[in-house]
Symmetry: C2
């Protein structure tokens, strides 16, 4: 089966946006607060709203999308912590309902009610709730200030309480920023990619995985700038007397394939071990158009992976399914329960 | 000849650091201010200090390095504007002296006395001084706040006064941030690369080169994440109804080859037109070690360019010399005056 590990719910029904408007309007005028978190969205509306994703799954040949709320919509820097908590719950609940309605097509990943300056411990109740609802992972925002980078690096003890629970509950995190409120930093064109690069460098500087050997992070968008500058990162780690990156980071850090042209995916496959690459398209994400050079959608990333030369069957399985089942053990368990057995572990292939 | 367009003076004599210490100590205790900007560095000391660079030029086979003060040393966010102005002048003066002593080996690029929140107009006197001293370009910092991105984007009219003078005086700018004072953002491993990516996206969003068709920017470190995500940027531009990137940006925006492994340079040569690639190594820069996979220095980037397959002689000339002479017209004039004629313009090659 083919698992796309990076999809956001970017086709939400209008009622969700209306709710958010009322919620934020309520900051200025309490009379405008939404009376209830009931959005009035029916199951039929939810199923209708994800038809574009289902159509792309069929057309492009993927089976299951790991699905989370719109990344730019998380808005951790917006409003106050209490409003953020409600918003987080409402957003996650929609994901939960969609995944319950279409379990063969979607697996749930949730956002957390992070807020700039607030203790990360405040996110544990929602994490626990997500585990109970069958979510398989979370999105963790390394910069809840929305483009100003005011949080301590991911290696700081600030983050340890959530890591302890992530490990205990086998919940991996995609490191994913939300929208940018910084006019100098465009969200999908700069902040997302910078977030990936910055997070990787934070991890490189520290020794986090000595304290949390079971912790797993996915860095999206192909790892930001990291594979393109793989020599730079190998060299900086060496200058810092860190172990080789394979030992230092790659047991815990994975990259997705949200890179929207063949040369980028080719580079990635050259420098990143196949055990660390997870298929993803972020479909209905940052780039929606058709590439005039190929006459295919930019974000039809399966085509690029399919065109990789010298990718043997075992490696292909890892990128499209095996690595995802290893990084997301709760997904693996759900799939096994539904009769989709994983292949037996195979020896590591050279890349 | 082979021109390396990106070298910083990272082997400064100790007197420069002593001066800076006294200067900043003077903020807390006026009695510690340096009495004079005379550093007491002799010409012999200057020449001795750049022997490592000269050795690498000889060993690696480059001829001339475009040389500017240490990037992380610019420290635009440090102290106050008056101290920054003195520091800028002292730093640029050392570059000037080195280039006067060794004109066959170094050409001068200067820093500007930018300060967070201060009008960019305040940098014009130093720019004019640099022109008078024979500098061939400048480093322009898109984030003088040092990692918090508090300035308006490069397309904002805030920057226009310096652009007007850059065009008038034929001074291109390398878009280069300085050190990061943000503990979440490592300088060479995140801030530099993010700065490149962010600047490119700012330019993509705007229409700056409609107002300044002669303005020229070099984005260093291979353009940050940009070539790796070339499909993403082409797609975002398309979604924004911008012209094709070749038309929209590539008459004015150039990338250097400071990418420290062969697969990165190969990717770059695949997606970026050869007219937009300028050879550079940033030698004695961010990564100083020897790559155990190749037994050569990571930053010996000439080796990677030399290994590019299918690079014809005309393209090779462009990357190593021709493009630099086109982007830095004052350098071209200096070289011509010294008897190094440029080749006649050749028709554009397909990449």
């Amino acid at each position: 089966m083919i698992i796309d590990i990076h999809g956001h719910y970017t086709t939400e029904p209008g009622q969700l946006h209306t709710f958010r408007d009322k919620q934020l309007a309520g900051l200025a005028d309490a009379g405008r607060k939404p009376a209830t978190a009931e959005l009035g969205i029916t199951d039929e509306q939810l199923v209708a709203s994800v038809q574009p994703q289902l159509k792309f799954q069929r057309e492009r040949g993927s089976d299951l999308t790991i699905f989370s709320p719109r990344a730019s919509g998380m808005g951790h820097h917006v409003g106050n912590e209490a409003i953020g908590r409600d918003w987080c719950r409402v957003s996650n609940d929609l994901i939960h309902r969609i995944c319950a309605l279409l379990p063969e097509n979607f697996a749930a990943v949730g956002q957390l009610p992070q807020f700039p300056g607030a203790p990360i411990d405040n996110c544990i109740p929602e994490l626990e709730r997500l585990v109970g609802l069958g979510f398989v992972g979370i999105n963790l925002n390394p910069d809840p200030s929305g483009g100003y980078w005011k949080s301590p690096p991911l290696t700081d003890r600030y983050w340890y309480p959530i890591y302890e629970k992530m490990v205990e509950w086998q919940m991996p995190a995609m490191i994913h920023v939300t929208g940018s409120c910084n006019p100098a930093v465009h969200f999908t064109g700069a902040h997302y990619i910078n977030g990936d690069t910055t997070a990787f460098m934070q991890l490189l500087q520290g020794n986090l995985f000595k304290d949390f050997p079971e912790l797993k992070f996915v860095i999206p968008h192909g790892g930001g700038a990291v594979p393109f500058h793989w020599g730079r990162y190998r060299g900086i780690a060496q200058d810092m007397k860190k172990p080789l990156l394979g030992e230092h980071l790659l047991k815990n850090v994975f990259f997705d394939t949200c890179v929207y042209h063949l040369p980028g995916i080719e580079l990635m496959a050259k420098v990143i071990p196949v055990d660390n690459i997870l298929f993803a398209s972020e479909m209905l994400g940052a780039v929606k158009g058709i590439d005039p050079e190929t006459a295919h959608h930019y974000d039809d990333t399966k085509r690029y992976v399919d065109q990789l030369k010298g990718l043997d069957e075992a490696s292909r399985y890892k990128i499209f399914e095996g690595n995802a089942r290893r990084v997301y053990p709760r997904l693996d368990a759900q799939l096994a329960k539904r009769g989709h057995a994983a292949r037996k572990a195979v020896a590591k292939e050279p890349t």
